[in-house]
Amino acid sequence: MDKPKKNRPGPEITPEIVREHGLTVEEFRRILDLIGRTPNMTELGIFSVMWSEHCSYKSSRPYLRKLPVESPRVLQGPGENAGVIDIGDGLAVAFKIESHNHPSFIEPHQGAATGVGGIMRDVFTMGARPIALMNSLRFGELEEPRTRFLLNGVVDGISSYGNCTGVPTVGGEIYFDACYNGNNLVNAFCLGLVKSDRIFLAGAGGVGNQILYVGSKTGRDGIHGASLLASSVFDENTEDKRPTVQVGDPFTEKLLIEACLELFECDWVVGVQDMGAAGLTSSSFEMAHRAETGVFMDLSKVPLREEGMIPYEILLSESQERMLFVIKPGHEKEALVILDKWGLDAAIIGEVVEEPNDRIQFLGQEVVNLPIIPVVDGALDLKRPTKRPEYLDEVVHISLTEFPDFSRGDAALKKLLACPNIASKEWVYEQYDHMVRLNTLVLPGSDAAVLRIKDTDKAIAISVDCNSRYCYLDPYEGAAIAVAEACRNVVCSGAEPIGLTNCLNFGNPEKPEIMWQFQQAVEGMGDACRFFDIPVVSGNVSLYNETKGEAIYPTPTVAVVGLIEDQTKVMTQGFKKSGDQIALIGFTMEELGGTEYLKTMFDRSAGKPPVLDRKHEKQVQDFCRELIQRGLISSAHDCSEGGLAVAVAESCFSPGCQTLGATLTLESTLRNDTLLFGETQSRFVISFPEERINEIEDLAMAFPVDFSLIGKVGGSHFTIMVNGKEIVKQEIDVLKQIWKTSLGNYAGQTT
């Protein structure tokens, strides 16, 4: 039988080509069923990206459905470009975190820069002005020259992009571990502010609406970046798969922000979607899908940067700083005037049609005609097998007797303060403009970043967290702890947690052990969120973080956003005054599993991680926030990596506060190492003027929470007495110097 090939130029679709597009035999068969014919090359490219792990979430979707997504404050949950939460006064915050791991490994500067650009566009497409950036970074061991190259490149990329757009980078986290040697992680977070009645969604709206292309011209950048890179494992052949790397243009992004915010003021703007992964393809399909309409586009109208581009390339290009607007007909001129004012390229490239198909023309020929729904929804949810990994049997069993206790803790304390996971991150955040826009009430260096909302009494606190060693040892518990810790950090600043976004970084989901980690972590996160009553409003999944079969530790990073009703009641972690009392909220158990102490002193990532008692956690958090709201305390800091001793040391020399010494006088039956450096959860170190003791103790009793006075602020030394015996005494300036300069010293080495 003769198959007519009218209007379907290009090579024949062979099994080879199908495979190269990352589609399985079953998937290809499904495509044939769905459209009733063989797709042409361009259409195959569309299926390839739309059904990629990155765009379709085919491995993760069944699990993600179990996360709690609702609360009275939620205005927009997962599914749009960013989640939106009501903060009162007619205002809302839109936020999301997203990974740019693979691009940053190939080209750290551009990879990280375009990651920042992408997440910002996700936020301002909601109609929100971006007001804060954060990031969560993971690198391999700092002893590796490649790590330092990546670290410098990534930080430089974030700095150059964020700073230029005038959005402050107000905080983040950064960890080093050998498991990231072949796969660094770059997760970028952005939060924007929007009037709650001016939120924009990515729908195409009614028939006849015009599709307006805005921003940079389209080039051949990053074709198949999302699908191929994020859906396969790195090995020796990675070189061949390198797509043209996307280069970020933060200047254009800045203009795009201003122009888009101006367009959002106009009532003829119907919908908007940024062109991120899979570019024009996914943005046009998804907009049509959300509105249950179809689209018609003429690719000849797309502003192009390079000559000779074919439809396949135009549709799959991941050129940065581009947006797709849908506007009511008759307003094209007005739109173009605004865009011209900001010096941006723009063109009407199509319109919304009734028939639910995406029909695309190029030079007068139809090159694509695909039904919207199956392309967007058609990727099957994969029920990938799961299996508890065997390594767990080995690593979680440790006995404290393997690790001799110490009688003096000075050496361990110094070593921990110098360890890059604990040392000051000043070298990083000084490269970020964290003050621009004059909202940053708490600068980097405290538990959470705090931004005021001008013209209101409110402020927003943000923290990103994940201890991936805990997650490696127990993904369920580790993910729950990530949620608890992020909440604890925003509580330290006086805020009430109101929403969460997550970035789930894992290895190859085709391996049952990885899928098990994923399942456990999502469950742990979901259960914790449910318990603390925090909705998950947006998120991102990054799989295949493996090189040569070595997966990263499971890293379910969370960012928690908290609300402070009264701007004047913001708390920081630094001690404020000599003579203040120091107290511990919560209690310490005899445990060392998963600690930074075991890793730093004994090179072991082993043991059971600390257990999270959620009820207890909630109580101490509520208590701490109550103390802050009543204005009773002068500082609050949570105990995390490095335990109690490190937490107190950090409060002694917190940025923005004067450096003060401290003396701890502890009574305990615990081993010294667990007492000082154990990482029992649900603990805060607070300080307050002596005369408040009674009031605070009464309140602790009423709550009830464990509360103990442990020492006093003051002097030039950090001293720790246990049962009357001195076990640490160091000049505070010496400790500070070690802590402050360690990361920069590592990062600055060239060889």
């Binding site: 200047f251 800045k254 000084e430 621009v436 826009r437 009430l441």
Partner: protein
């Protein structure tokens, strides 16, 4: 005081300057758009704000210095009008040759955002008249190309004419290599022209002028200008 704030594409401290002048210091404040020339006669102060005009591409401030509004600013400055360039605004003033010297990459080659201290070198100008002798200000810097450079002869001249307004110093006022965040010659943080009506500085006074944020040392510069107008 009637103030104008120039907006270039890529300016990003424009809103911060506006906030301080208008909402904190209650001055009449207007926007000036880069594409339009303007009659500035009625203005007491024109501010060129910080940011990344034209992305800092080619050289910071280079492309912005050719904006139509800069023709008006130059006319205004030549007639004795007061112009304050902060950070990127300073770079624009140098590229426009309203101020002498140039700014090159920080010695560390990295962007630096932190609080520094600067010493007032000449309290006898409209920008510093409220400061008093040897006053030290705590003030944030945020820049990548903030290392001031000028040849030794001209540096000397600036010094003799009292054109050096601020030097980076430590908290006690001592000027040294350690207290110099970016490698500027002579630790120079801000300069004026010979007539003392145009001033450029790398630190951001608008970032330390709102009492709700840390520090208000920056107010003194704006207050000086207000007293002078």
């Amino acid at each position: 005081m009637k103030c104008g704030i120039v907006v270039f594409p890529g300016s990003n401290c424009d809103h911060d300057c506006y906030h301080i002048l208008k909402h904190i210091l209650n001055q009449e404040t207007h926007w000036l758009w880069h594409k339009e020339e303007a009659n500035l006669e009625s203005f007491d102060l024109v501010v060129l704000p910080g940011g990344f005009s034209y992305g800092d591409y080619l050289r910071p401030g280079a492309i912005a210095s050719f904006s139509p509004i800069m023709n008006s600013v130059i006319t205004f400055a030549k007639a004795g009008g007061k112009v304050l360039g902060i950070c990127n605004g300073f770079q624009v003033l140098l590229e426009s040759e309203l101020l002498p010297g140039t700014l090159i990459q920080n010695q560390s080659r990295k962007f630096i955002c932190k609080n520094v201290t600067v010493r007032i070198e000449n309290p006898d100008t409209p920008f510093t008249q409220n400061c008093g002798e040897n006053r030290i200000l705590e003030i944030p810097v945020a820049h990548h190309q903030g290392s001031y450079y000028i040849d030794p002869f001209s540096l000397n001249q600036l010094e003799e004419n009292g054109q050096i307004l601020f030097r980076y110093c430590d908290t006690k006022g001592k000027v040294s290599a350690e207290s110099n965040p970016n490698g500027s010659v002579g630790s120079v943080a801000g300069v004026t022209n010979e007539q003392k009506n145009v001033m450029g500085m790398m630190p951001h006074p608008e970032r330390c002028a709102d009492p709700q944020l840390t520090g208000i040392d920056g107010q003194i510069i704006f207050q000086s200008l207000i007293s002078n107008s």
